[in-house]
C-alpha cells in the first residue's frame, strides 16, 4: 500500500509529502479520523473544517463507485468476476482482523476434565483446604467467589479464591476420606458448580454411598 502511495507521490513531484502520515497521526486526530472514515465511505465531517481535505478526490471509495472500481479491478487485474474478487477481499479482511485479535485465553485445562487431588493424612486430620495444581486452576473461577461442590447428592457452598487456588472439603472429609484416596473434582458448570467424587485407594471407581462416604 505505502509503496503505491510513494510511487504516486514521486510522480506528483513531492515524495516527502508522505511525512503527512506522521503529521496526521501525531497532530491531526480529527483529520485522521475523517480520512480513515472516508476511505470506508463514512466520513463524519464532510461539511466541517476538514471538508477541503475530504473532497471528491477520495470519493472513489464511496459505495456506488466502489462497485465500479471492483468490476474494473476484478476484470483488468485479477481476471475474475467482481463477486469472486469481493469474496477474496472479504476473506483477506477477515484474515487480517483475526490476525489482529488478541490471542484467546486458553484455559489451562478443559472443562470436561477434572482434577484429582490426593489429601495427605495430615491434611485430612487438620481438615485443611486442598490445593489445586496450577495447571488445573483454569477450571476454577478467575475471581474470588462462591462455588458449589456437589457430593453424593448434597450441595456445599464454598468460597474459592484464585489467589490461593484451594478448595475446602470441610464436611466432605467426614465421609471417611483416607490418606491415599483420590478426591476428583469435575466441573458441572465451570466457575460455578463442581462434582466431587472420592475414589478409594486401589479402586478405579468412585466410592458408593454404602461405603460410608455420604
Amino acid at each position: 500500500m505505502v509503496d503505491k502511495v510513494f510511487e504516486a507521490l514521486k510522480s506528483l513531484g513531492d515524495p516527502f509529502a508522505i511525512d503527512a502520515f506522521y503529521y496526521i497521526d501525531r497532530d491531526e486526530p480529527k483529520l485522521k479520523k475523517c480520512l480513515l472514515g472516508i476511505t470506508t465511505g463514512g466520513a463524519d465531517d464532510k461539511e466541517g473544517e476538514m471538508s477541503e481535505y475530504i473532497d471528491a478526490k477520495l470519493e472513489v471509495a464511496l459505495p456506488a463507485d466502489k462497485m465500479q472500481l471492483l468490476k474494473k479491478v476484478a476484470k483488468e487485474e485479477f481476471d475474475v468476476d467482481e463477486y469472486t474478487l469481493a469474496k477474496i477481499w472479504i476473506i483477506e479482511q477477515l484474515t487480517l482482523k483475526i490476525r489482529d485479535l488478541p490471542a484467546p485465553a486458553f484455559p489451562s485445562a478443559l472443562p470436561s476434565e477434572g482434577v484429582d487431588l490426593k489429601p495427605t493424612e495430615k491434611t485430612i486430620e487438620n481438615r485443611w483446604q486442598l490445593a489445586i495444581p496450577k495447571d488445573k486452576r483454569g477450571l476454577f473461577p478467575e475471581t474470588d467467589k462462591k462455588i458449589t461442590l456437589a457430593y453424593d447428592g448434597v450441595e456445599y457452598k464454598r468460597s474459592y479464591n484464585p489467589k490461593y487456588g484451594e478448595i475446602s472439603l470441610a464436611k466432605i472429609y467426614e465421609s471417611g476420606i483416607s490418606s491415599g484416596d483420590i478426591v476428583r473434582v469435575t466441573p458441572l458448570q465451570p466457575g460455578q458448580k463442581y462434582r466431587v467424587e472420592v475414589i478409594k485407594q486401589g479402586s478405579n471407581k468412585p466410592a458408593q454411598k454404602n461405603q460410608g462416604l455420604t
Partner: protein, 225 residues
C-alpha cells in the same frame, strides 16, 4: 502505474503536507526563540546546520519519551527546559565553540547536563561526544554537498553520508535531516527539486506515527489499492 486510490490519496497527502504541515511547523519555528527561520539560517548557515544535525540526533527515543515529544528537543512551543537552551548553557550549541573542544571535554559537559533528569552523553551505542565532533567537522562539506545537489543520485549520496559518517545518525534520522534541510527549511542555498529527494524518503516511514497511520489505512482499505 499507481492504482487510482493510491494516486488520489497521494494528492491528498501533498495537499495536507503543503497546506497544513509545512505552515504549522513554520509557525512553530517562527513563534519560538529557538526556532529555525529563514533569517536565522541565512545569517549563519553553517552554525544552523550544525545545530539542526545535533538536535536531530536527539529527536528519538528515549529522549522524546522523557521530554514528552519533539518540542523540547527543538525548543519549540514550550516554556520549560529545552535542549537548545541546555546545550547553549553547556557551551555546546555553537559550532565555533565545539570545534575548539576535545571529545573528552564534550563528553564531560554532556554528562553534566540533566535533560528531564537524564544526561546527554550517551544512549545505546551512541557516544554523543563523537557525534558533536564529527558533525562539527562535517558541516562545511555537508553544506557544499547540499548546495551542489541537483539529482536523486546526489541526494542519495548526501543521505548516505549523513548516516555513515556521523555517529548517532541512522537511516531514519538521516532521512529526517534531508527532509528538513532540503525540503522544509530550504534556506541553505540548495536548488534541488523536491521530486529528486525520493532516495531519502522511505526510512522516515519507520517512525512510530507514520507507520501507525500507514497500518491503519491499510487495515481500512485492505487490498483495494
Amino acid at each position: 502505474m499507481p492504482k487510482p486510490i493510491a494516486r488520489k490519496l497521494a494528492e491528498k497527502l501533498v495537499k495536507i503536507y503543503t497546506e497544513r504541515k509545512l505552515p504549522h511547523y513554520a509557525k512553530l519555528n517562527a513563534g519560538s526563540p529557538e526556532g529555525f527561520t529563514k533569517a536565522r539560517i541565512e545569517r549563519a548557515p553553517d552554525n544552523s546546520l550544525f545545530q539542526i544535525v545535533i538536535l536531530a540526533t536527539y529527536d528519538r527515543m528515549p529522549f522524546t519519551r522523557w521530554a514528552g515529544g519533539f518540542e523540547p528537543i527543538w525548543g519549540l512551543a514550550i516554556s520549560e527546559e529545552s535542549l537548545p537552551s541546555m546545550l547553549r548553557a553547556a557551551g555546546l550549541f555553537e559550532l565555533d565553540s565545539v570545534l575548539k573542544l576535545t571529545e573528552e571535554a564534550i563528553d564531560l559537559r554532556l554528562a553534566r547536563c540533566s535533560f528531564y533528569k537524564h544526561h546527554l552523553a550517551s544512549c545505546d551505542k551512541t557516544r554523543y561526544s563523537k557525534t558533536f565532533i564529527k558533525a562539527a567537522n562535517s558541516v562545511s562539506s555537508l553544506l557544499s554537498d547540499m548546495r551542489l545537489a541537483k539529482t536523486a543520485t546526489d541526494v542519495k549520496a548526501l543521505h548516505m553520508k549523513l548516516y555513515k559518517e556521523i555517529p548517532g545518525i541512522g537511516q531514519t534520522i538521516a532521512s529526517k535531516l534531508v527532509m528538513y534541510i532540503l525540503r522544509e527549511l530550504p534556506y541553505f542555498g540548495s536548488s534541488v527539486h523536491p521530486r529528486e529527494l525520493h532516495p531519502a524518503v522511505k526510512p522516515i516511514l519507520k517512525e512510530y506515527h507514520a507507520s501507525n497511520f500507514a497500518r491503519e489505512l491499510k487495515n481500512v482499505m485492505g487490498t483495494a489499492w
